[in-house]
Symmetry: D2
Subunit: 366 residues, 4 copies
Amino acid sequence: MQTRAMVQTAPRKLELRSLPVPEIGDDDALLRVEACGICGSDCEQFAGVLPIPLPVIPGHEPLGWIERIGPSAARRWGVKEGDRVVVEPILSCGRCKTCTSGMRHLCFGGGRGFRCYSYIPLTTPPGLWGAYADVMYLAAETVVHKIDGAVPPELAVLYNPLGAGFRWAGEIGGVREGDSVVVLGPGQRGLACVLAAKRAGAAAIVVSGLARDREKLSLAREFGATRTVVVDEEDISSVVFDVTGGEGADVVLEVTSYALEPIAQTLTLARRGGTIVLAGVKGMKEVPGFVSDRAVLKELTIRGALGVTSSAFRAAIDLIESRDVDLSRMHTHSFPLSRADAAIRTLAGEFEDERAIHCCLLPALG
Amino acid sequence: MQTRAMVQTAPRKLELRSLPVPEIGDDDALLRVEACGICGSDCEQFAGVLPIPLPVIPGHEPLGWIERIGPSAARRWGVKEGDRVVVEPILSCGRCKTCTSGMRHLCFGGGRGFRCYSYIPLTTPPGLWGAYADVMYLAAETVVHKIDGAVPPELAVLYNPLGAGFRWAGEIGGVREGDSVVVLGPGQRGLACVLAAKRAGAAAIVVSGLARDREKLSLAREFGATRTVVVDEEDISSVVFDVTGGEGADVVLEVTSYALEPIAQTLTLARRGGTIVLAGVKGMKEVPGFVSDRAVLKELTIRGALGVTSSAFRAAIDLIESRDVDLSRMHTHSFPLSRADAAIRTLAGEFEDERAIHCCLLPALG
Amino acid sequence: MQTRAMVQTAPRKLELRSLPVPEIGDDDALLRVEACGICGSDCEQFAGVLPIPLPVIPGHEPLGWIERIGPSAARRWGVKEGDRVVVEPILSCGRCKTCTSGMRHLCFGGGRGFRCYSYIPLTTPPGLWGAYADVMYLAAETVVHKIDGAVPPELAVLYNPLGAGFRWAGEIGGVREGDSVVVLGPGQRGLACVLAAKRAGAAAIVVSGLARDREKLSLAREFGATRTVVVDEEDISSVVFDVTGGEGADVVLEVTSYALEPIAQTLTLARRGGTIVLAGVKGMKEVPGFVSDRAVLKELTIRGALGVTSSAFRAAIDLIESRDVDLSRMHTHSFPLSRADAAIRTLAGEFEDERAIHCCLLPALG
Amino acid sequence: MQTRAMVQTAPRKLELRSLPVPEIGDDDALLRVEACGICGSDCEQFAGVLPIPLPVIPGHEPLGWIERIGPSAARRWGVKEGDRVVVEPILSCGRCKTCTSGMRHLCFGGGRGFRCYSYIPLTTPPGLWGAYADVMYLAAETVVHKIDGAVPPELAVLYNPLGAGFRWAGEIGGVREGDSVVVLGPGQRGLACVLAAKRAGAAAIVVSGLARDREKLSLAREFGATRTVVVDEEDISSVVFDVTGGEGADVVLEVTSYALEPIAQTLTLARRGGTIVLAGVKGMKEVPGFVSDRAVLKELTIRGALGVTSSAFRAAIDLIESRDVDLSRMHTHSFPLSRADAAIRTLAGEFEDERAIHCCLLPALG
């Protein structure tokens, strides 16, 4: 059997190939890919700024059906052929100190370095380590979650950004009923944070963005934001102090990409004893204006947020399956597999007229 | 290659056999057993009261050296041939909701039921699932921890009961500096709770036992108990209220075996807002005198304690390696492999003159 | 100035009196009572089964306006005359170990015993310690929370049972997105647990009641219960195992009054690693069938729940003010002050035809 | 009755005065000061860099005996005349959201701003708000803790820095058995962190200082540091990676004063998933080199640490009373009340030959 796959061979270069589908054994499986979500790190991988060996099949946000599965994997994962599942990106070893301390999503275990779907090259057998493909290989360390077959694929595949929202706003930020929350950045993950914060009962949610983000800010309001701020035009601090009676916010989430100023700003926006979640990456740049005394004097908690836990993925799936929220405006663009580069470039904002929030590949489209 | 192993073929019947040592693959290993600790569940297994298929090789508290290991396992587990390690008993799947919620030690994953060394029969290949042997098989799901080669084996093998102490008193009980702690039952796990409570800074530790437990109670005092109570002679409640100024204890640990009365008593001994840890099993018997309103009116937290987490095993190893505490009086009896039945019966108290606290097998003895 | 107050002089005997309103000082206040909620403990106090000295003014769920306040209290409490507030029942000392350990709602501090509005007799100056009155005294230790003036009083006064819901299901039970929850007992506090569990994102909520509770169970479904069980007709265990795929529920809340059987049942209904919240009081009776091994083998957490924290009251007020949920069916009966006995007896179910969920006094009615 | 007090009237100016001792009421008390500890903020207050109104009696680390107490305070605080106590510095309102959220030590409640002994001016009746005196006033909001009368005063008064150690390393840092810990800065609070980390079972404790800190580093080793680093001579990163097998430390505590570089360094020294505690103040200066991506990619938790909780003070008192550790080398200088300026200047390092770690006033000396 052969499968189509989009293989990255150089920065900004993806090519469609036909590759052999491997035999599986007792403890692994194959996924028939139904959809693959695209996120900011797909854009970085495409641009070639991540240190990933080539050639490689990208794609680490898969939704699909179990095509074939070994008996041991079926027992351990609790699924059978034909089940519709989403797949966690990280291949954790399960045995190192990080894993056995409950931080499986940060595993660098067993001297293997960080193992994640889409970052393992084609030359590592069996090669099909990414979801830009019709069929993807699932190794023994995979964690999958079943998802309701009736949810349209472009909404089901939102499990990944929504999982980040539940992880960042809920598990790391600890938002709870009545809290005031600030979300800096209205991208797909910022919007997911709004949804998770609202779902946790936040009383006030302030979301900031740029003038060009007006549609995203409108969607933020639909998802529960009580106030949006265009930072080109309005001072976010004034708004936050106004909303919180001068106290500052209980939880501040920084989810902008590459903007350096918001980091120092979070220290001002948070209330005494408040929590700041840093999730936006900055290309390893030094951030200006960081006055650590603000963190000391207010006893702030500042938490870096990178990965998503299984519990957060389960929460996302629960929200999707509940149909309590209309998620359709969050998904903006679907592409056939062969147009993966267009999907990435659309999300990256390379096309003037396309205001993307969430893009995905649907192999069924071609 | 062949290995000796003690095989249980019927209740109270162990026989020495020579069995073939299997080939290993990429992701498993063999352990050269140096010592195997014996605990209460070994006694239950020997007596035949646990529903374990026979024939089986018992022994789930192994200490030993990595004899052979596959390259993948070596990477994932972070060990190589010749390393001295202890082995966790539970073979968790790592993929089910229990595992991915951080309760790996409670895994019943993948429809396989509970998987634990010593409880998998000889008929499940490769058969060598227990540590009453010279060589033991280590499957891919195994978690091992390195331990200092200079610690005598009969002390190193205390990692298992000490791990329970750190789990029960520390992680579950939450004992911290200045706390008042009650330990009901001075067996090896009760003593381990005393050590862990002392290590966490408990200011007052009251330990109860029977008249026949005087030596154990003496050792409890050596390990940090500030008061011991012979319950045949003295009222534990009076002592606890006296010690705590009438408030009750911050943490109460129930680690007696088969005594039913102490369960209801814990509700009285704990202070308002206090924590009770239930670790002593009672043969599925109903306990008398349980007045749930005491738990409500004092807002008690009652937590069942069964397994031991990786972090607690690491804490135990740290205590052993630190040599801060003289553990030698805790270990009382060592036996050759061929006398496993004597080891079990000694711990079970079947021999009038032997006051055992901790017993182990040392295959090197014969 | 005089105030009307309903004074309890004997079991089941309340009489309307006119009492002098005291002067206040720097650090106390007077409340103009707008409404007072009635709960199960009002029924117990009325019946005379609680050890409360008489005569006394009952009522510990007040809603009202600050009538007068000393300057120090105004600063500390953050309110001024005319503000609409709810009042926490417990008068905690703020200085004892219980208070300074974050369990202020359990304070027995300073040798004064437990101090709570409605339980301090008329003979302790200034006497007006209960909310069955037009005016109530607020001592220096009082905690108040502002509440939106536009919410009708019979809904605003639901802050007390709703606060219990957020405390019991949320803070103690730890319900979160995707959890399966069982609520045993559909009274006002059971319904509040349903609301709080739904609000926290519970995916499945099973609520049990008796045949006579059909209206309450219907309301439970309106509030988010996914399944209700009439225990006279159906086996709750079968339902819970069916709903949870045989695993048992993540969180089980016991909020029945005086039924003894459900306590042991909770041990069966909870999943491995699950949480049980005991909030229903049983008249200090021993409960039958308590097999502690179930708690051990499943590593259950069982937590007694008595009081309500400030954070839970704030969550309740947030829910009320959000108007996200129509709470009007939860409130069933309003009474004038002079008919406090009818309010209590209605809630207690003494009148055949009245199916009460929540009752309150509205002094404005007479 | 009159009392001596050292009154600060201008920056670097303290004068001895005789002041009237006030009458007390029902809910306040007087303390006969036995000792007052001096810390870095005493130095700042003396220098005039803190915005504190003058004239004022400094001193917020008192040890003493209850001289007189009102009946209500006696009940609430659980003490009587003649009891030896230590006094918490913060006068929290107990009613605001910060207080009722369990962060009483951060209270700015009731519009009164931050209230702390030694920062309330002489002009606010009754004026005796500081412990540089024979007698000090204790207001109703005071929290006191009893301490064993047999401990020498210069050791008993260590409760304050030791409390910070338990708060910062234990409660905020979460150090536990087996952890690797880095303490940047070997002052009195750095040493207290070493003690608390050791007491919590840390396996490796690396402490850094300057060449002039050699005596402090020697004491750090006595208190449990497994490795000390003179940062003028050795690279702390190399040492920490060496000690931790290349992983980085579980917990990094920054307790230097006014050094800006260590803040960014903490991000490098902490392991994936590790915790950083920021306790050293930097005069509100921006810190250089802060690369926030390190916090994101390693999912670090960074927590500001300012105050000390009641539970941490209790832990400190427990350690002092246990006599498990010889604390005498930690205390270096005692002064009579009249030489408060010398005490402060000694701690501040103004005298070439005096290597101070901890200084205190003992009014009995004159």
